[in-house]
Structures are given as C-alpha cells and as structure tokens.
C-alpha cells in the first residue's frame, strides 16, 4: 500500500539572512563611528568619576598641554569673527578675519597672531607653537582672551571647558583659573575620561541607594 511520504524537515535554519543582517549592522557601526580627530594639541586627560557627559555645543575650550602651554578653541565661527573684529579694533593688529574664522584653535601671543594666522591650518602643531602666554601673572594674555570671549558671548549660552594634560604643572592651571576668575567665569567644567566609582566609598553607597549626586 502506498503511503504518502512526509518530507523530512531539516533542523538546520538558514543562517544566511541573519548573517547578512549582522554584517550590515557591523558595517553601519564601523562607518558611523566617529574617529577621534587627530588633534593638533595632544592632551592626555585625567580620569574622574564624574558621570556628566561633556557638552559638545557652544564650547569654549581651553587646553593645557603637557608643557603647560595654553591653547584656546572656540567652536562657533560667528563668535570667532566677532572676536577677530574686537581684537582688530582694540589692538590694531590688522588680523586676517577670514583666517581667524577658519582657525580651529589659537596658540600664540597677540603680537604674533598675524604670523600665526599665516601658517597653514595643517601645520599648526602644538609643539611648534608657543601657546598663549599665561605662565606668569604679570603677562597673562589669557585674561584678555577671556575678556574677548566674554564680550562675544554676552547673553549667549556658552560652556567653558578646561582640558588639561595629566602632567601639566599646577601653575599653568592656576593662571588659567585666574584668567577665568578675573572675567567672572566662575563656573567651568573640566574634561575627564570616566572611571567607575570605587566600591565601598560614600559616593558608591549613595549610588547604591539610588541617590542622585549633586552635580552643581
């Protein structure tokens, strides 16, 4: 007697589709990953338990490199233009406003700024530059820079960030803070890389209890 034969079902699932999806996602993530841009100012930042993510917009970033040289960068082109014009009117340096607008960061004294702007952008490397003079309190040009920044950002939102190198000495840091203080920038944020909270400490206990920490 002829019996209808059931086709034997294989337990193997076709993985091809899943594989396609996996690699599609993989390529998506690889391509969208923002690579850390090669920074002209190399700074190895210290780590801290701070959990707040550093702002990325409206930033005025002061970097201190390992030799204590100070650099300033402003992310908003419009503000850079305002500052360039302000420097031109007050200091009579005849700066190239277009070049100033293009510059990603500044790292020279006011007197050398025209020469600095003449250097092509790609050739501005921190180790070849002198940085903004802030080493001694008598000639702290950071104070003036911060004044220009303050005037340009008057009434606008701005995040003042400080990015210091691990091995930068304290006097450089102190002179920058002094420049902030002199211009009434009393709140700033220091860029750090995150680490976990050590187990057993008070902060850890608070976090376990679900208390949010005061970020002010």
């Amino acid at each position: 007697m002829g019996r209808a034969k059931l086709p034997r079902k294989s337990t193997n699932i076709d993985m091809t589709a899943m594989c396609d999806v996996a690699f599609l996602l993989l390529s998506f993530f690889i391509l969208t990953t923002k690579f850390k841009p090669a920074e002209a100012v190399e700074v190895n930042i210290p780590s801290s338990v701070a959990a707040k993510v550093a702002p990325e917009k409206d930033i005025v970033l002061v970097s201190i490199d390992k030799d204590g040289k100070v650099f300033l960068s402003i992310d908003d082109e419009g503000q850079r233009e305002i500052i360039a014009n302000a420097i031109n009117t007050t200091k009579n340096l005849n700066l190239n406003v277009a070049a100033f607008k293009q510059a990603k960061f500044f790292g020279s004294s006011f007197a050398q700024l025209p020469q600095y702007l003449a250097i092509p952008e790609d050739n501005r490397k921190a180790n070849a530059l002198s940085g903004i003079p802030a080493k001694d309190s008598s000639n702290n040009e950071m104070i003036e820079w911060m004044r220009y920044v303050q005037q340009a950002y008057l009434g606008k939102k701005m995040n003042l960030l400080l990015k210091g190198d691990n091995v930068a000495k304290y006097p450089a840091f102190k002179n920058v803070i002094d420049a902030f203080k002199k211009n009434d920038f009393l709140k700033f944020q220091m860029v750090t890389s995150p680490t976990s909270v050590p187990v057993g400490t008070d902060l850890w206990k608070n976090n376990q209890k679900g208390l949010t920490r005061e970020e002010e």
Binding site: S47, I177, W204
Partner: protein, 183 residues
C-alpha cells in the same frame, strides 16, 4: 521494508551490495559567522559610547579682599591637603602647628582613608556641615593631582571644599619634607 529506492539517480546502476555515496551538501553552517558578526557589533557599540569624555564641574568662589565676606571654617572640622610634587600628598588637621607637629605625609592611595576618617570623626563629634577640606596645590604638583583630589572630594561626598593658594610657610614645609624624605 518494502520501500522502493526512489532517491537513486540515473547514471550507472548500483549493484545490490554497493553502498550509495552520500551527497555532500553545499551549504555552509553560518552560525559561527553570525556569532562573530554580533560579537563585533557589540564591541563597536560599547567602544563608541564609552569613550565619551565626561565633564567635571568646578565652581570658583569670587575673589574677595574683604575678610568679612570670606567663608569661615571651624578649626577642628578642617582638613587641609597639600599637594606636593611626585604625587605626594601632605595633610594636617585644623591649623598648622608652629612646630609643624601635625603635618603628616600621605599618598594618593592612602588619602581616601584620611578623608573618610576625618569625615566620620566630624560627623560623630560635630555636624557634617562643619567638615571642610582645604586643598592647597603647590607649584610642583600636576593637573592630574588636582583633578584626582577634586575627584576624591566627590568620591567621598565632601560637601564643602575649597581650593586655596598655598602659603609660603606651607610651600617651604612641603619642599623641605620632599627634599628629606627621612624627616
């Protein structure tokens, strides 16, 4: 039992005792490849989100010349930390004795214990709000030291702390201590 061999293909006919050669599948098992794909995806997801730099807030007090406007701290609730060069930390409680007898040295590994001990002592004997840590970085210390010690403040939930310029006496004391570790 009485089934016919229907799967045999044309070609030569096999004799009754000849084993049929197994047909090899062209399919490759893609499961390990999928595993690898997802492993890499998770790796990329984690590495991209974790490298976001964080920001530590620091509020500065306004410099005031007027001593009446300056904050006062109770002597017994005060812990002063002095940051020296080569990752040295020195501390004293209350006011520095004229003979520097309460001037002690420590390190970044041990300073947490000093802070927590002092904090629990102040909580037991006084109010928590009386606990003030004064941080005095000397010229020899690095930016990392300063950030580490400020981080220590948030790790130990110290509510009141201040960064103060080091005085000449203290700077000298730090220098002498670092010059002669035996002391």
């Amino acid at each position: 039992m009485a089934e016919m061999d229907t799967s045999s293909q044309g070609g030569h006919k096999k004799g009754p005792g000849v084993k049929k050669s197994k047909k090899l599948s062209t399919r490759v098992d893609l499961t390990p490849m999928v595993d690898l794909g997802f492993l890499l995806i998770t790796f990329f997801i984690f590495t991209t989100t974790m490298s976001q730099p964080t920001a530590m807030k620091l509020n500065l007090p306004k410099d005031t010349e007027n001593p009446e406007e300056q904050n006062k701290a109770k002597e017994s609730g005060t812990l002063t930390l002095l940051l020296g060069s080569n990752n040295n930390v020195f501390y004293y409680e209350g006011v520095l004795a004229p003979d520097a007898s309460n001037f002690k040295s420590s390190s970044f590994g041990e300073i947490r214990e000093v802070i927590t001990n002092k904090k629990s002592w102040v909580i037991q004997n006084m109010k928590e709000s009386d606990f003030v840590v004064v941080i005095k970085p000397s010229d020899g210390c690095t930016y990392k030291n300063v950030v580490d010690i400020l981080d220590e403040m948030s790790i130990n939930v110290v509510k009141k702390y201040a960064m103060v310029d080091i005085s000449e006496v203290e700077a000298k004391l730090v220098a002498i201590t670092e010059g002669n570790p035996a002391k």
